[in-house]
Symmetry: C2
Subunit: 758 residues, 2 copies
Amino acid sequence: MKQYFKLDEWKIIEEGFNAEHQQIAESVFSLGNGRMGQRANFEEAYSGETLQGNYVAGVYYPDKTRVGWWKNGYPEYFAKVLNAANWIGIDIIIDGEQLDLAKCEVASFRRELNMKEGYLKRNFRAKTVNGKEVEVEAIRFCSMADDETGAIKYTLTPINFNGPITITPYIDGDIKNKDANYDEKFWDEVKKQANPNGGYVQLKTKKTGFEVATGMLFTISQEGKVRPVEKEKYVAAKVDLLAEQSKPITIIKYAANLSSQNYKAENLVEQLNQTLDRVSKKGFDTMLAEQAAAWAAKWKHNDIIIEGDVAAQQAIRFNIFQLNQTYTGEDDRLNIGPKGFTGEKYGGSTYWDTEAYCVPFYLATADPKVTRNLLLYRYKQLGKAIENAQLLGFKDGAALYPMVTMDGTECHNEWEITFEEIHRNGAIAYAIYNYVRYTADEAYLEDYGLEVLIAIARFWSQRVNWSEAKQQYVMLGVTGPNEYENNINNNWYTNTLAVWCMQYTLDVIVKVKAADSAKYNALISKISFNEGVEFARFTHIIQNMYYPYDEQQQVFLQQDGYLDKEQILVKDIPIGERPLNQKWSWDRILRSCYIKQADVLQGIYFFEDRYDIDTIRRNFDFYEPRTVHESSLSPCVHAILAAKLGDEARAYEFYLRTSRLDIDDYNNDTEDGCHITSMAGTWMAVVEGFGGMRVKDGKLSFNPFLPDKWQSFSFNVGFRGALLNVKISKAGVDIKNLSDTQITVLVHGEEREVKYSG
Amino acid sequence: MKQYFKLDEWKIIEEGFNAEHQQIAESVFSLGNGRMGQRANFEEAYSGETLQGNYVAGVYYPDKTRVGWWKNGYPEYFAKVLNAANWIGIDIIIDGEQLDLAKCEVASFRRELNMKEGYLKRNFRAKTVNGKEVEVEAIRFCSMADDETGAIKYTLTPINFNGPITITPYIDGDIKNKDANYDEKFWDEVKKQANPNGGYVQLKTKKTGFEVATGMLFTISQEGKVRPVEKEKYVAAKVDLLAEQSKPITIIKYAANLSSQNYKAENLVEQLNQTLDRVSKKGFDTMLAEQAAAWAAKWKHNDIIIEGDVAAQQAIRFNIFQLNQTYTGEDDRLNIGPKGFTGEKYGGSTYWDTEAYCVPFYLATADPKVTRNLLLYRYKQLGKAIENAQLLGFKDGAALYPMVTMDGTECHNEWEITFEEIHRNGAIAYAIYNYVRYTADEAYLEDYGLEVLIAIARFWSQRVNWSEAKQQYVMLGVTGPNEYENNINNNWYTNTLAVWCMQYTLDVIVKVKAADSAKYNALISKISFNEGVEFARFTHIIQNMYYPYDEQQQVFLQQDGYLDKEQILVKDIPIGERPLNQKWSWDRILRSCYIKQADVLQGIYFFEDRYDIDTIRRNFDFYEPRTVHESSLSPCVHAILAAKLGDEARAYEFYLRTSRLDIDDYNNDTEDGCHITSMAGTWMAVVEGFGGMRVKDGKLSFNPFLPDKWQSFSFNVGFRGALLNVKISKAGVDIKNLSDTQITVLVHGEEREVKYSG
């Protein structure tokens, strides 16, 4: 399915009704506001293939783990994203027949996602089996301005008939997760009420006890006979009316989702009613205008404009749009699931994707508090990360953050990942470094950062062991970012990251101690940090760590023994055998030299300043031809490094592999949801790759180039109070300051003062 | 639970009723005859904790696989042992109250397994809640002489009452497997019939379609009113009679299990009736006498007598007894499950245990056809082993035998085992070598053996790869016998075994070609063996294989990088942290130096003649202190090597760890069933360890020693038509020939003629 959707700079457009693409479209047209979200399911009934999805951020269920063979240390439960009550439903019965596009003759169909203003619009004209023709326009959004609410304006016009129509707006909480290990339902009903003009259902999750009240208020432009209906976890109002040919009937449905995370459970309904009152008084058009204004503010901070390539323009905006729909940084209990609000897959919410890929995006495109909240999310889960490490046999306050989590508890159970893909711990430390480097918010280190860093450094110091044979420290039994290798020894990336973590921790200790010794002393007393002993141990490891290296090719070795593998390059694998993860058995993949995603190169990306350009080039030229890029997170790092190496054509090629991943369904899996976290990687490819943006000694630095196919591109980034528009065109690099904070940047290494430019 | 059972040279005895030991006793007192078997459940109802188990050899169900995370190459189904119809049941209702030891006051209880004659006897005296006292004696066995049948003699004597008793012999096929991934029942009813003196149930397995007819005929010593009863998958006859105080009532129940593996399904009932007629005409006492005779014949071939240590005597006989109950070698479709007929655990039937541990036992203690049938079992599954290898990406007739199987299909799904614990393939080749070495049956190679060997050699030749770095062949991504290491490179044992397989295959090719070139040509044509190319490839690998070795300590290295691990010896692990597999997380075990069971030492055991005694000692002294023996298969190999090294005390110590494993429930898991295959290891410890028995140049050789605590020990072994009794006492080594085949053996390296000695 290439280019199924129409090209447009600000919209995603589907024309014509194709049932076989319905689930892909449901993913791509998904809506969200950071607090809640939903797939682009239809308001009216649809009996075709569909994945129904409504999600409330932070509400999860600990599903009992399913394993083949239990390994000591596995978590018993897997917290997963919950499919929540459907608030979009509006059943339409025309003369006794359910309006259902799977059964109608559909004369025209158009769906568009307006990314500029943040709403979904659908128009269609269809004829029922009984020959009744209708035209429908449905507009809906999840409000960014009022993030517990959403609204729908559904207008139905009879084309060729007068007659009875029953319109049934409803809330349906009798929902089943597609992803449920033992086929259970996860919600219990607390209470509900159906009224003539609305209603609510209050549900409670099993085990976790989250309560969510979902309610609606609606108006219909034409009078009718109303019958409230209540069923299990379901409320509705059936409205019978007589439709007139060519006379539009407009249903406006206001909805709200309130959760016991933010209110006392016993007050939810009262709060819900107040919220619904407020938005319905505002009215649909005002809400929609607020929505456009909220999105305009977002775009001001983070739009990217590409001239001369509509497909690229559409794609980059789609990626930015989805990232903003998924996470707004308002709440430090929330995080960024790999599928956001677009599907259930990958169950848990938080992966190392957040720190490694999403943090750079939010740092540059949002208020610093957004990233700070992502950091605080981990800070608040430090206790659980320490427990998690204890479960695996670590001690003395060492923390291992989970591979996948909702609330800090490990949710993954595959030993080679759960127990061994520990580089995630380093990414969490790196994000702290990245945040401080970008924002200069040194106070964060004193208040929160150092505590996390010490716990992580303690983990690494226990996780390495002294090798008598090598007379160096080694790290055995790990899985690097390249998950096509498991249980390897001395993964260069992990060893490098671990030592960096320990060094950075020591640096921060010195800094914090100097800045505020009282705070420092309080901290080390709280966490029983033995400065003498632990400082010495960290230092000894830093000075005596082993890193695999190949003298002959002068490259860092991905792990011990990597060069024992048969070295056939990716280009020489027969086409029919790819993707490897579908065509090869797992053992064959494991013993091959093929790399899923940047591993040594991820380390070079993180610590670019340490390596001269020849070293970067040698490693890139060695590893990239062995990389199959079978993770959506792979191409962006390669794009950035290719750009760094001046290989503009390849940088562009890598960028293309991710930018339209979901819109064009490259991996045949968009129906499960969109690859939200990899969208941040696409942004990185443009800004850090083509734009060459870095932070150098507290200044933003740009080494941009213009891809051949583009006339120009520009991006907005914020930095320490300034808001810049950076435009790269054939004419050169033009930087405008959209704020009144004067700033000095580097362009191709030269300092440039950028003043407010109106 | 140490020494719960009483010591006796020929019996296992339980005295007193202990509900908390019931499931352990059910395992230890299990009965079987190679064709069918059962746990020692009670005949009458029992409402306490119990694991009901009746099994019919070769009847399995492919349960849908349960995995946490699917890996390419995993099998979809897991064939597992089926719990089959219960034929032992006899309900007793006394004056309206069910006789049930869980509810009675039990005045006395004794259970004994008579291993000499092959039956289980149970006596008890109990008082019901209503105050009725009865005495019961129950004797039962699975007939060795007539292996589709079994019989029970159940005698009940009212002690303190006259009154109504209802006796209900039944067959119950409404059975659930404890081990069922999705809680399904695996049997459907085909037909059934309840008669006044018996009845049958014919069941069919879902998916596999095995049909099994289970029937009974019974007599009761006292007249009563009979009502046949039929329920789903259940037949019974309720017999109401009036019992008289002190007058024994004897129920004799004859049972038979016939399977569609051996008869047409439509004839099963007719055959079943003939079988039941035959045995009932014979009568219980005649059957029991035949049973004693059949067991006398077994014991003649394989008894071990230990003087001066009753516990050791009892234990070794228990192990021999269970091995004979599990596999008799009558049928080349059957094999030896790790739990035999004593439980469902480990689901599948066949592991490499058979070739590595059981083959030596059966070679020495049974007719050569018994081992030959174990070999033919694998020969007949060669096609599936080739398919299995294809699934993983191998080609050109390479075979990978499954880790666990019933019918040749892989049934295990844990990537590090299923795909990587490939040394099993070598054990299958080694068993062929071992069989031919022991029996001199060279024709087996021509007819079957070579075809298997070539397929296995082909696998190894594809599984290795050329390392440009080492300029040698390497084998990456394997798991050795030490399953506490996964996905390692160049496991010394696997590399050694693989090369040995290729060399042995080449040797056998030369031999077979010389012996019968027509047969050889037919074979290589059938399997498209390209002699020139493949011979050369095997040879190149044999000559250029890499084996990890440590120059400093002069030991074979278990795998690449083993010496990077922290080398703390097992004796220095705090007691509370063992067994590691219960106390440590899986990743911690993996990165430790601790060894689950013989790995390098397994190779040294297999290829002992290659290594001088110093090499063996260096490796033993290096690896044993790092071995936790957390597999029941571990101590025997260590006992044999310790004996070889002259360390008699340690050899004896290792022997003790396995000999009473189940009787004394060392691992707290006997309730799941007995460790059948490790029992062969115990036999090996005595005969190959203390007896120092080997085959040297076509002769049996003995280098025995007498453990300090024993006065003497003797064992019977067969070898190429001769049957020997070898007795080691303080007086020296006495060898008697129980057969009329003269034979020359080596004793401490000296030839000794052994003639028939009456």
